[in-house]
């Protein structure tokens, strides 16, 4: 032993091919003659494990329920009987070259709200917020909003153009954009219409449908200002920028130059360490932190610098906020401070009274979350929640609060405050100013009613 441990600083080579082909033959031959029984047993065990694995998939539905009673027969069969995965051979590396979630997680899906739209190509899907952890949304569960269907665009053919009030209109390939110095930042993206269906009354059952047009990712890309400077943009007189998509809808939105010169706006290709998913704008999209999702133009093909706003369809017909006066607010872009409890939340059932971790998400389009308070009595009394790190500007922030449920009805709410001091409003406060027909930018405090039978319901309180 001394030889190996004394040779410090040297990596020992792992033993490889310690059996020669002839040696293998010998072992097999001996095995067949019964002299090396253990080999046969090993192979038999491996094949049994495969069969058991198939049986597990077909197990009855209630196998998922996890009662944890005190065992009557001396122990929990899940402990006493070794399962296949403890006694068999698992799958090899790279069986899934691009891994997928466990099959037991298949209930987590983006979902459409039935009846919300007539076509799937001009529609939305909602992220399953009720089942997500931390602040990052898995790319495959990121909410979708398409205006004319999504495409998987060949990045080698994608071009990005800058024109308008610039010295030299420019064209970039993806290769060129990816050569430039990149930054990676966590930001939330929320559709301006998120929670719209609940403006007037409770309309949908779960947090997926009330708040699921919300996701948060680490985006990687080049600050748009870098590219504008390359084109020699007139940053003084060019007060507005038009961003335009390359898909059929050719989505256009006006972005203020001040947001771009701050370096915040990114021309992004990366999301959560991989390239953008096609549903989220592959190969290139705009990232406009704090601003509603419609401005984060997907399949970005062009940016034009101009001295006036553009009144594109989605800023002159949609994404305008009707006030009780009959006037529409136009160019309402910022997603104001908002939060929601994701557990417990609508459509769930608590199994029994006792300890629970109330958890949820808070965010603000104006900066960092400063604090979150949680009420379990419909807003009469509040306790301050723990903010979990990281707390990032214009990103989701996770909050947690200890709670012992006594089995009585409870109405759970969360109330966020951002670093500007702004406090998330109650429904009454929002409606007092904006009425009930405003559709967009509903950031009111959400209420979940926990009933005595454990069922949690979406409600609004007086």
């Amino acid at each position: 032993m001394t030889e190996r441990f004394n040779s410090s600083g040297r990596v020992q080579k792992a033993p490889e091919n310690f059996l020669t082909p002839a040696g293998v033959k010998t072992v097999f031959a001996e095995g067949k003659q019964g002299r090396r029984d253990f080999i046969r047993r090993a192979f038999a065990a491996a094949s049994t494990a495969t069969a058991a694995g198939v049986a597990a998939v077909a197990a009855p539905a209630n196998a998922w329920a996890q009662g944890n009673p005190i065992p009557t027969e001396g122990g929990d069969p899940n402990i006493l009987n070794l399962p296949a995965h403890a006694t068999g051979l698992g799958q090899g590396v790279a069986t899934e070259g691009y891994g997928k979630p466990s099959k037991y997680e298949s209930n987590l899906q983006r979902r459409q709200s039935p009846g919300l739209t007539q076509t799937t190509q001009a529609s939305v899907s909602f992220a399953p917020l009720q089942s997500l952890f931390g602040i990052v949304t898995p790319s495959g569960l990121h909410f979708e909003r398409h205006h004319q269907g999504w495409w998987d665009i060949d990045p080698s053919k994608h071009r990005f153009m800058i024109n308008g009030m610039v010295k030299n209109p420019k064209v970039f390939t993806m290769d060129e954009i990816m050569r430039l110095p990149s930054v990676s930042r966590f930001h939330f993206i929320e559709c301006g219409a998120n929670t719209a269906v609940d403006w007037g009354n409770v309309a949908v059952p779960t947090v997926q449908y009330t708040h699921g047009m919300l996701s948060c990712s680490e985006f990687t890309g080049v600050p748009l200002i870098t590219l504008l400077e390359l084109a020699g943009a007139d940053l003084k007189n060019g007060k507005f920028v038009l961003a335009e998509g390359g898909d059929g809808s050719a989505m256009t939105r006006t972005i203020p130059m001040s947001l771009i010169t701050s370096g915040e706006v990114l021309v992004a290709y990366g999301q959560n360490g991989e390239m953008l998913r096609p549903e989220n704008g592959y190969p290139l999209r705009l990232v406009v932190p704090g601003v509603q999702g419609v401005s984060w133009v997907k399949y970005l093909r062009r940016v034009e610098v101009g001295d006036q706003p553009y009144a594109a369809k989605d800023e002159a017909i949609h994404y305008i906020d009707l006030q009780p006066s009959g006037l529409h607010r136009q160019y309402t872009n910022i997603q104001e401070c908002k939060s929601v409890v994701t557990t417990p939340s609508g459509g769930q059932v608590l199994l029994d009274k006792g300890f629970y971790n109330i958890t949820g998400l808070a965010w603000s389009g104006k900066g960092k979350i400063k604090r979150v308070d949680v009420s379990t009595d419909g807003g009469r009394n509040w306790r301050q929640a723990r903010l979990e790190t990281p707390v990032l500007s214009k990103a989701l922030t996770r909050f947690n609060l200890d709670w012992v449920w006594d089995g009585k009805p409870a109405i759970i709410q969360s109330r966020a405050q951002d670093e500007t001091g702004y406090v998330q409003p109650m429904y009454k406060q929002l409606r007092d100013v904006r009425g009930t027909r405003s559709i967009y930018h509903n950031n009111a405090i959400q209420s979940w009613l926990v009933q005595e039978n454990g069922e949690v319901k979406n409600v609004q309180v007086s």
Binding site: A63, W64, A65, Y104, E105, S106, N107, L108, R111, Q118, T119, Q130, S131, Q148, P169, R179, L180, V202, P205, L230, T252, P256, M257, S258, R301, Q308, Y310, A311, A312, K313, A316, I317, P324, S325, G326, R329, T332, P344, G347, V349, Y356, G365, G378, G379, R380, R415, Q417, V423, Q424, M426, Q429, V433, T436, R437, H441, N453, G454, E455, V456, V459
Partner: protein, 364 residues
């Protein structure tokens, strides 16, 4: 004698400028100048001051023809349809054209808001039709067609007369008659810059109160019982493991949860993948084709939407696969109603697959 050094100096300055510019380029080799032809191909936006609007014109009469062939199937003959997209036309009056404010927007009892009630700028209509219509074949309209269709819509709304010819020359006059041209405000705190003046003060001011903040809360609004299962079985939309489960909404309220004697088995096993051998895969493939080609926007399986239900087609043309496939490819009008079906751009094989499925009774 003086002139010569001056010229040399000028050249020298010119050269040093040129080289200074090149060196000030921080990222040499990245990006190239766009050609005028390239910019022209992509720079299609039209602003409210009509910058970007191409020279051209189109009549209301021509617009009606284009509308019936390419637009009516989604928007209705009069732009009033709510079947595929929200209605475009309706809800405005001659008085609105005078005031520039749509009176119905102040009413809480007026059903819905049409595009013409909301839009303040005629450039928005022109630009969007030009860039994104028809929905299934965007950017295929000629400049004349865009003018014509825009004019037709404005005619439906009573903004321009029947014999109007909309053009780049008179569109500014039309802007002065837009029913909701005075209906927008930028005075709010939700624009991230100072470009509009506006205000930086948010319109709601909640405060942080921690104790006895309000009287006991009463539930004022909740989802009615009939909507319990409207979003599918919620037990299948929650994680199978965790501190809570999803409610089984296929069962009446209270049948799950802590009141049950055994552990509540509210979740089900993961959805099994569609079986390939039992014919269901074919239906799945057809469903994907129907969705991809947006057939289901206009046709239900057993109900009429804009066009007939697939089952009705099967009743009328039982087994006539080739006929149905032909109709899918060529489009048609007059058989099922006034709104024509446009010719569909899909392969013969796909058309046949769909036609077979329709002729055989269209099942999900």
């Amino acid at each position: 004698m003086f002139k010569f050094p001056k010229i040399v100096l000028a050249i020298a300055i010119g050269l040093s400028f040129a080289s200074a510019f090149a060196q000030s380029t921080k990222y040499p080799g990245v990006g190239r100048d766009a050609t005028p032809k390239e910019v022209a191909a992509w720079d299609i936006d039209v602003r409210p001051d009509f910058k970007g609007l191409p020279v051209g014109s189109g009549s209301v009469a021509k617009g009606q023809d284009v509308w019936e062939a390419k637009c009516a199937q989604c928007h209705g003959i009069f732009g009033e349809s709510n079947e595929v997209f929200s209605p475009l036309i309706g809800g405005t009056t001659a008085e609105d054209i005078k005031t520039g404010r749509v009176a119905n927007l102040t009413r809480t009892d007026f059903p819905g808001r049409t595009t013409i009630m909301k839009v303040a700028t005629v450039s928005t209509l022109w630009d969007y039709i030009n860039r994104a219509m028809p929905w299934t074949n965007p950017k295929t309209l000629t400049t004349e067609e865009v003018y014509a269709v825009t004019g037709f819509l404005l005619n439906l709304a009573g903004v321009v007369p029947d014999d109007y010819v909309l053009s780049n020359k008179n569109i500014a006059e039309v802007q002065k008659r837009m029913p909701n041209r005075n209906g927008m405000t930028t005075a709010h705190a939700m624009w991230p810059g100072k470009e509009f003046g506006g205000t930086s003060k948010p319109d709601t001011q909640n405060t942080i109160c921690m104790k006895d903040c309000k009287p006991e809360a009463k539930v004022a609004s909740f989802l009615p019982d009939f909507a319990r299962n409207a979003h599918g079985n919620l037990s299948e939309q929650n994680r199978m493991v965790g501190q809570q489960k999803g409610v089984d909404t296929t069962k009446p309220e209270g049948s799950t949860g802590k009141t049950s004697t055994s552990a509540p088995a509210t979740s089900t096993a993961p959805a099994t993948p569609a079986k390939a051998a039992d014919g269901k895969a074919d239906n799945k493939a057809v469903m994907a084709l129907l969705s991809k080609n947006v057939c289901t926007a206009c046709h239900g399986i057993d109900k009429k939407i804009v066009g007939p239900g697939f089952n009705d087609i099967a009743k009328k043309y039982p087994g006539k696969v080739d006929y149905i496939a032909g109709k899918i490819k060529s489009g048609g009008s007059g058989v099922w109603g006034a709104i024509p079906m446009p010719a569909q751009n899909l392969s013969d094989a796909d058309a046949k697959l769909i036609a077979e499925w329709i002729a055989n009774g269209s099942q999900k």
